[in-house]
Symmetry: C2
């Protein structure tokens, strides 16, 4: 499996709007096992995204899906940047 832990930073005052776009853009993505969108309670603009994929390839391919491209296009104007970003190798646990 292939995992990602990353922080996205919303433009000032735009976090809830960005969250809404991210949350509605969750149609099927082949190979996606888990994709959790979370508010960062320690900041005004942070959004944590934690992902588990069956492979790194599936993650890369997802970025080309039309509905993912549409979500990215809609979100981009209110994304101020990115913070922490870690790749992981998920092995197991609960809910996979």
């Amino acid at each position: 499996m292939y995992g990602l832990i990353g922080k996205m930073l919303a433009a000032p005052g735009k976090r809830e709007e960005l969250l809404a776009i991210m949350l509605e853009g969750n149609d099927a993505m082949p190979g996606c096992i888990s994709y959790v969108i979370a508010r960062d309670p320690a900041s005004e603009d942070g959004i944590w995204i934690t992902e588990v994929w069956d492979s790194k390839h599936s993650h890369g391919a997802s970025l080309q899906l039309p509905h993912v491209q549409a979500t990215i296009a809609k979100a981009k104007p209110i994304i101020a940047g990115f913070g922490e970003y870690y790749a992981t190798e998920p092995l197991g646990g609960i809910g996979l």
Copy 2:
């Protein structure tokens, strides 16, 4: 929901042993929606744990469960420390 993203550091040379203990210790934990155990590919000793709970209370209560206490007791001697640690507010996504 209540989320955690954290890094655990294994004692030198003990990561695989620690992972095995963590992976076998995943009996039911009330309120646990997701608990992903992952190797940190950027280090020799890092383990990422990403968790989603129905509430902060459920997470706290889980630490008192006998099988969780047993896992902690078994793991403790080969845990060198902890790294990054972030609380999150999961809102939705895939696999929850």
